[in-house]
Symmetry: C2
Subunit: 717 residues, 2 copies
């Protein structure tokens, strides 16, 4: 599916976000009930379109004419909210279809999340939506809030926020209603305005990714946030993420279910399959999605970004009023990957002119308690430091006293005079600090008490910016794939039965079609062929048994290394056939693979393709050998893998230093390795039916000498 | 130095903490100045002893007779505070010595922290203290506060706290004055009482460890906290930590300077050398010291422990009022190493009887919004869950509304009815949540908003408890060291020049003396000896050049493996001598080492001894090979290493799974490895002059087959 697909899909979401007429099936006037809340809120908060309560038990509701059924409504209905018991829901949905409604929100629970019977009804909803093109949000959801048109089509956000300091800021999508509302409340309280808030429920029709795409395209949304347990269609998510990236909209997601315990909990919560944490984590890196670990960091990031600020690099300056807190902050900055850079000479001289002798003008700058006796000192120092061209952002830590605005006002002026992020770390007795943070918050100045959350959020934004820039600036070309690669491979890969495993020999032919170097080798079916092959390839050679019935050749005594003479080929062949017979008497022996013996100056790597049930084909790379098996040190990305992605995969490996040449070894040919990763990516895209492909080992030789697949295996879906 | 040393030392601290008379040299009555603050506070806060201001410029101060000099004071003086300019400080200290003062606190700055000149004066202070036995706190410190006797001998804590909910709780030691006071204020505000607060300053005489030992022995202190940049004497610290452990007092330290950037900052802050982060981190693990990563966690731990509660294991139950927040909490618990265990059948049935159908009785328990409609439901459920015998602790997450006490009171009753820790995670609008937390805090109930800090603090306490229990319960015996090991090794190790490096052959003799198996080997100086040695050892053998001038034998072509016949011995010997000549023409060749060739079914490890400048000899272990070099996967402990320490070292290795037998390999002989670690520990204790000892590789064979040092090296200090 191409981007255009999701984009054209998105038009169909308009009735859910910008309806001109809304019907509520099962409406009531009770503001404490899901059936009453939207009716009350829609009529009281300024929604401009038509609102039609539908309920056979009432003539009027809140002064509006109440219709016995949907068909009784005279005009067209864009959006319909269904708030009837589970057993009546499907009928109501069918009425919507009959009426030509294009968008439906189903509050009702009791479907896929409660068991099989409910799942079947939910499937019928899905089928009906697909047949009619009608779009469904839910079931088992809290609905949609959209600020622009006061669309209160939900039972979570029931009034417009009274304080919006930053309008048209955040769109939020939640796979948990209750938790989503809790997040909504905390963000709203800070004064950050929501463009839209969506509770997605069971996603019978519209999925998380649809809303993500809609908000990526929506010009009233600047930042997108979400709580995610699991995706139904990973490819759609990738498209939506690409749209957000193209439109310069940060996507910040809390993804639950990292560990078995929580994955199980998620499954019993919304029936969501949380998928592979490894793959999700890779996708987030690949698409520049900011992973939210906790709400405090989320709020911190929002507090930095609302004015368009973002750290342009990782260089941070620290200003503190005590030496110890400066040291502690430097620790935290280093911990989260920020650079506590030396300040420029000019900066230090300017600081020295202001500060007492026992202060420190190094980074961290220790202003000392002189801050108390010299009014305006903090502002002066902060202005000097933030102007240092070697600094991308600043954190300023100080003690506050209740109601004392002087220092706070100094810092407000500093923040407003620069386009670099400045974060205030406010120490002090709780009441005083709370009051100070409240003041700063109302002035939209980033301020907090939790060192870890503050510094991590700054580091995360810096990484995000670096990611975005790298995607804009880099125009690296991938390797040239042989023009007929696909055709050649198709001969070998198409028309195979499900679960087929290709022999090493065939698998390597596929690799060679895509320009991936493999050992020189020949399949020999007679002694003469074996001897001739060894001669052609050149001694020493490797000999391997070739049989679809023997997958683990080493275990079967099916591999002989370092065969140096024709005599050894002769005895070797007998030995291999013998071993095969012992291992599996009726094995179908295709012959013996005579293979080039690779020099031992290379590094063993593992590269391959693996199919993920959510995102499709992924490409992976790791260091070979037993230690890596112990450490699970593997990096992966979803195909297609860009040249930059491939580089980031390598730099993600814990053992990456091995490639740089440890203990006097020569650095490895990283370029050859990167090249192979991208060739595999193309292969994966061309043949999504490959379930697994392993090159193990891939031998990577010293720089300039290339790499070579020593063994390979392909398994089809 | 034995424990008794530190303990007898501690008596000398009594004048600093329990003086009956205090003189203040340079006293003033200005409560805004360090010279005035203690005088004001001592006279106003109820200190019972004598207070003597000393200042030639006043006749009286605050109604007290003011003495022109210390010698004019008629009675004895236990403690003297010096608050005079730097140039007058040494003279004042000499007067203290002359007067027979036993404890001195020097506020004055301008010594080692400002440069060489100051450092020289500070050394004179140290010398004077050593000569007279007088004890000094500081210089460049904020002094000592001790609650018990209202000892306000400082300029940080200038009044007694007005709210002490938990008296006689925490002793705190800080290597940063300003930051220490900030921490003090935050803790005080929660109502946790300090027994003592010490700002240690430059530690010219008394060190961090002295205060730690004092508080470990003090019966008014239950928990010890501190901010630490670097220790002068690591051994003293180990003793103090042992005392705290023996007295069941948790020690919770914030250790700064983990990274180069912060280490540099610490050096310019107090001139503290932060030491090796690796070694500090090992020492903390070895002594059960709780490392504080941030103040919020510290406060959380204090809020759990004050009533004597501590999680007895890692099994946590989660109660939440929304499915999503339960999933998120399960994620966090797993992340921090807690077990989100299944609840017992009985517990689940009891919950099911109370909860609606769509709630979840699994762990995390999702109580759902039924909490709103069923008053008392939360308390009932929480009581059921916390009684589950499979649960060690509980976290309960709920939404709060301003001023609504009902749920809070329910949770107070739950907390008070159990001796298992229960933490309240309070969601809600900030004002409401703050108010709720304040209420809980005043009732001494653990409550907070920051999920990460809460769960990490619970996990940390569980680990601490498990550590303490393991030390109490385990009576594992270490290996028996040969009775004459020390004497045998002394012959080889004593009377060596500084920096001497022992040859492989000699180093292995030292190892064998301590019962560490090495390859069988003989040093041959003639061809005949070489042939005879190979015969005795048994073919195949390894041959290595033996020369003090050739340290990197492999690089010099000085190692031949797999010598299978007498002929190969003959050619090998020539080859080795030839290679040595080429490598270094004038090398002093001691002969050729003929060595047993070890079977290849073992795992290569590295074990050794390394001397740390702060803590002395450490023992280390890691997996061998190039990957570990890339990953720096090494565990270490300070000698002596207990059997339990050794086990924990192994389980700390990232690659530890290699030892358990990966990919069909046999599990390795861990016991042999543990045994060798402890033998090395004994060797390190017996010969502290060993700067470095490397066994690289140590080959560890499959279980039951032992281990063997294949190569070894010893370097003396």
């Amino acid at each position: 599916m191409s981007n255009t697909d999701l984009q054209s899909d998105l038009k169909s979401l308009v009735p859910l976000f910008k309806p001109e007429s809304i019907a509520i099936i099962g409406a009531s006037s009770n503001p404490a009930k899901p059936s009453g809340q939207p009716l009350v809120a829609l009529t009281q908060c300024g929604f401009k379109g038509h609102v039609y309560p539908v309920n056979p038990n009432y003539r009027t509701l809140l002064g509006l004419h109440c219709y016995p059924s949907l068909t009784d409504i005279p005009g067209p209905v864009d959006l319909c909210i269904i708030a009837v018991p589970a057993r009546m829901t499907l009928t109501a949905l069918e009425e919507c279809a009959a009426k030509g409604v294009r968008g439906v929100i189903i509050f009702t629970s009791g479907f896929a999340e409660v068991g099989n019977e409910g799942a079947i009804i939910q499937q019928q909803m899905t089928a009906l939506a697909r047949k009619t093109g009608m779009r469904i949000c839910g079931p088992n959801c809290m609905g949609i809030f959209s600020a622009q048109n006061a669309l209160m089509a939900n039972f979570a956000v029931t009034e417009l926020p009274d304080k919006v300091l930053v309008p048209d800021y955040l769109g939020f999508i939640s796979q948990s209603g209750g938790f989503g509302v809790a997040i909504y409340e905390m963000i709203k309280e800070k004064g950050y305005g929501f463009s839209h808030f969506v509770s997605t429920g069971n996603e019978a029709n519209l999925e998380f990714s649809h809303y993500l795409g809609y908000m990526a395209a929506d010009n009233k949304t600047r930042v997108i946030g979400g709580y995610l347990e699991g995706l139904k269609d990973g490819q759609k998510f990738l498209q939506a993420a690409d749209m957000a990236l193209a439109n310069n909209k940060p996507v910040m997601l809390m993804k639950a279910g990292r560990y078995p315990a929580s994955a199980k909990a998620a499954a019993s919560h919304t029936g969501a399959l949380v998928g592979s944490e490894k793959v999700y984590s890779a996708v987030f890196k690949q698409k520049g999605i900011i992973r939210i670990d906790n709400l405090e960091e989320f709020l911190n990031m929002l507090s930095i970004m609302h004015s368009g600020k973002i750290p342009c690099g990782k260089r941070i300056a620290i200003l503190a009023t005590s030496g110890g807190s400066g040291v502690m902050l430097a620790d935290k900055c280093a911990h989260y990957g920020l650079d506590v850079v030396p300040l420029q000479e000019e900066t230090r001289l300017a600081l020295a002119a202001l500060l007492p002798d026992f202060a420190s003008t190094a980074n961290p700058v220790d202003i000392t308690s002189a801050i108390i006796t010299q009014p305006g000192l903090l502002e002066q120092c902060a202005q000097i430091v933030i102007k240092d061209p070697g600094v991308d952002m600043m954190i300023v830590a100080y003690w506050t006293e209740f109601g004392n605005r002087s220092i706070l006002n100094q810092m407000i002026r500093v923040e407003q005079s620069t386009n670099k992020p400045v974060f205030n770390l406010i120490w002090g007795p709780e009441k005083a600090a709370q009051e100070a943070m409240h003041y700063m918050n109302n002035n939209l100045i980033p301020a907090g008490r939790e060192v870890d959350f503050i510094i991590k959020s700054m580091a995360t934004l810096a990484e995000y910016h670096i990611f975005v820039q790298s995607r804009k600036e880099t125009t690296m070309l991938g390797p040239e794939i042989p023009i007929n690669a696909r055709e050649k491979a198709a001969v070998l890969l198409n028309n195979l039965g499900p679960g087929t495993r290709l022999s090493e020999h065939t698998a390597k032919q596929v690799l060679r079609a895509y320009g991936i170097p493999t050992t020189r080798e020949q399949l020999a079916t007679t002694m003469e062929e074996a001897l001739a092959a060894a001669e052609t390839i050149g001694y020493p050679v490797v000999m391997k048994i070739e049989s679809p019935d023997i997958l683990h050749k080493t275990d079967a005594g099916g591999v002989l290394l370092n065969i140096r003479t024709p005599e050894e080929v002769t005895t070797g062949l007998h030995q291999l056939l013998n071993n095969a017979r012992v291992y599996k008497a009726d094995a179908d022996i295709k012959g013996v693979l005579v293979q080039q013996m690779l020099p031992d100056n290379g590094i063993e790597m593992i590269v391959g393709i693996s199919k993920d049930s959510t995102f499709g084909s992924t490409v992976l790379v790791g260091l070979g050998g037993i230690f890596v098996e112990a450490l699970e040190d593997v990096a992966l990305r979803v195909a297609p893998v860009s040249p930059l992605d491939a580089q980031e995969m390598l730099s993600e490996l814990k053992g990456q230093r091995v490639l740089d040449g440890l203990r006097g070894r020569l650095p490895a040919d990283k370029q050859a390795l990167l090249d192979i990763i991208q060739r595999l990516s193309r292969l994966a895209v061309d043949f999504p039916q490959i379930a697994e492909l392993d090159i193990n080992p891939l031998i990577v030789f010293p720089k300039g000498e290339g790499a070579c697949a020593a063994d390979a295996l392909i398994a089809m879906e």
